[in-house]
């Protein structure tokens, strides 16, 4: 959205005249029918003055946090601001292990303030509502920021209509009662509470189609939930409905775990493409079957954060509404001052923590080079992904992979893949140290 207007802002940000009408005092004071929002758009955010070319990073996930730190390291002249709407970081990787009590919540939670303090950038706890690329301004609910470079790392949103749930009442009930648990915070806490309260029956988990966040994670979660069932002697089963014909990654390891460790507990149904969910009747319908459940976590299809769509940056042919960027340099096509990284990218890389972290290391260098009139060669993201399959002791399997561009088919494929599918306690410990290292890289 190059052309920014008050009208489009209100339309997109969802602030309506009705909302404004609930604030009569401000309305009287300004004489406007939309007083608060108008005041916000006209005012600069209350932040220290930029000491160099300002780079604004939107999104404090694995991509944005790494980006903010390494932009500053690569080009110390940059004045970096990280905008994030949450006040507390909670890691999505390792949450499955936490569900099975293998780590404490403290392991997952980290302070945005520490990250900013240790790495010499500004943390701005705000929500982005719009961008004017022409005047290079990012609008938040607390005023605007001017930028020289903008990096959007807003992550994912869920697409419930893709599993046949379109009525806003049903979508809301589904989100509230059976949260997917791939956007950390309340969703994960609710799933943990469900496990603590579950007394028996069918606990359903689902795997979406498409490039969803963390390909092995739903299978790892199945193992961790099943391990809890075993440990707590819960009479029930974990029903895993997979929209894909089979497990895509670490397939042998997960199949062995289902068969050897969780026989009679895990029921795996591949090719189960969800057509609709009857929330009140607790029934999932696929093309040929219907499945009753007692509780669970329903993972719908994944799409890029709605912010990408709001800003008019969706790649025309992207089924997941991902951003239209140069696949090697990550800038929005036609704009070398705006970049999109992390899970909102359209390239078929794994939507996982290590991938986003390594990608951000590279893109920080791309932007630093651009600021100095230089270019650097492309570097592949690096996917290192451990999956826990057993607890007490924690045992994991893993994959390590890079990517290579296929000129003919015009897409990226896995390259230099090392798969370890025999679980071990050593790998379980390495799994935890992998995460600690990543947190150190983002927060220390």
């Amino acid at each position: 959205m190059n052309k920014f207007s008050r009208r489009s802002f209100f339309k997109l940000s969802g602030i309506t005249a009705a909302a404004a009408a609930t604030t009569p005092l401000a309305a009287c004071a300004s004489g406007s029918d939309i007083p608060h929002a108008a005041g916000i758009t006209g005012k600069a955010a209350d932040l220290p003055k930029a000491k160099g070319p300002r780079v604004v990073v939107v999104g404090g996930g694995w991509s944005g946090l790494t980006m903010a730190k390494y932009l500053k390291k690569e080009h110390p002249d940059f004045d970096v601001v990280l905008i994030e709407k949450r006040g507390l970081f909670m890691s999505c990787p390792i949450t499955n292990l936490w569900l099975a009590d293998q780590v404490k919540l403290e392991f997952l939670d980290h302070s945005f303030l520490d990250a900013a303090k240790n790495n010499n950038y500004i943390f701005f706890n705000a929500t982005v509502i719009d961008v004017d690329r022409k005047s290079r301004k990012v609008y938040t609910e607390q005023g605007y920021l001017k930028y020289e470079y903008l990096v959007l790392a807003p992550g994912i949103d869920y697409n419930y209509s893709a599993i046949g749930v379109t009525d806003p009442v049903d979508v809301n009930t589904l989100k509230t009662n059976y949260p997917a648990g791939f956007m950390p915070g309340s969703e994960h806490l609710s799933i943990k509470n469900k496990l603590a309260e579950f007394e028996g029956g069918v606990f359903v988990l689902t795997v979406p189609q498409g490039n969803y966040r963390c390909l092995p994670a739903p299978y790892e979660r199945t193992c961790m939930v099943a391990a809890e069932f075993k440990k707590q002697k819960i009479k029930g089963k974990v029903l895993l409905l997979d929209g894909n014909p089979d497990i895509t990654i670490k397939k042998d390891g997960f199949h062995h775990a289902f068969d050897e460790l969780y026989k009679g507990i895990v029921e795996y149904q591949p090719g189960a493409i969800i057509k609709s969910v009857d929330v009140a009747g607790k029934t999932i319908k696929t093309e040929f079957d219907s499945y009753k459940f007692d509780d669970g976590a329903i993972y719908p299809r994944v799409r890029a954060s709605r912010l990408i769509e709001t800003l008019g940056l969706v790649k025309p042919d992207s089924p997941q509404f991902e951003a239209n960027i140069d696949p090697f340099k990550y800038n929005v096509i036609g704009d070398e001052h705006v970049y999109v990284t992390g899970d909102a990218r359209p390239m078929g890389f794994s939507k996982s923590g290590n991938t986003s972290n390594s990608e951000a290391h590279y893109v920080a260098k791309v932007i630093a080079a651009h600021a100095q009139g230089k270019e650097i060669p492309w570097e592949s993201p690096h996917t290192v992904c451990f999956s826990a399959v057993m607890i007490d002791p924690l045992e994991s399997i893993s994959v390590d992979a890079h990517y290579k561009y296929n000129e003919k088919e015009k897409h990226f494929g896995f390259y230099d893949v090392k798969m370890v599918q025999n679980w071990s306690a050593d790998r379980g410990q390495a799994n935890l140290e992998w995460a600690r290292g990543m947190y150190r890289d983002m927060f220390s």
Binding site: N118, N354, S358, H382, V384, D400, K418, V420, D426, R427, Q429, A430, E433, W434, R436, G437, M438, R440, D441, S444
Partner: protein, 235 residues
Amino acid sequence: MERREFVKLCMTAATAVAAAPRVLAETGGSLHTHERAQLTDRQGRPLTAHALRRQETYVFNYPYASTPCFLLRLKEPAPDGLELKPKEGSPYTWPGGVGRDHSVVAFSAICPHQLSFPSAVRSVIDYRRDKSQAAGRAGVIVCCAHGSVYDPTHGARVLGGPAPQPLTTIALEHDPRTDHLYAVGTMGIEVFDQFFSAYRKELNQYYGRGAYREPVSGKAPVETMDRYTRNRIHC
């Protein structure tokens, strides 16, 4: 103390500072001098190079009270003169192994990728005399957290994984008359500041407030890895 044969790096404690210019010239200006410490056993008795078991992982803390280093007596002599080029930072010439057969080497055990290190509780980084599945070979130092692989026979250069630079070399001095070993400094990129910053909370708890960054001087006791850590994690 008389002048010793060794090493491009050597000098006695008393002359270490005076020796620095010569050492710097020979190593491309890349020796970072630290306090000199004699490697000893747990009881503080001087360690001899020939008493080290080949391909056993030994650990000592240097140049600070909390920063562990690997000490290895390799199967083969480790040749000197290798030029190492970190992705960021100055190149340096690795001095090779010390001891009568030039097979004793030492490196900081802090992985420069994301700072995993051997603690009393566990270590995901270790030297592997047998074959590492992740590295696909034996005789390497492997960090299982993110898969970085280092070659101790060649200055702990990076053989694989995301590490941006070799493990920091610990510069050793060897007295050929007594066969004693001394740590005198480091070469390559130091990551101690990042290490302290990342683990300040844990280090203060373990060593006492501020004690973790005390320089090691005089003696540096060496332990086997099996004694140093409760859980050696291999991959």
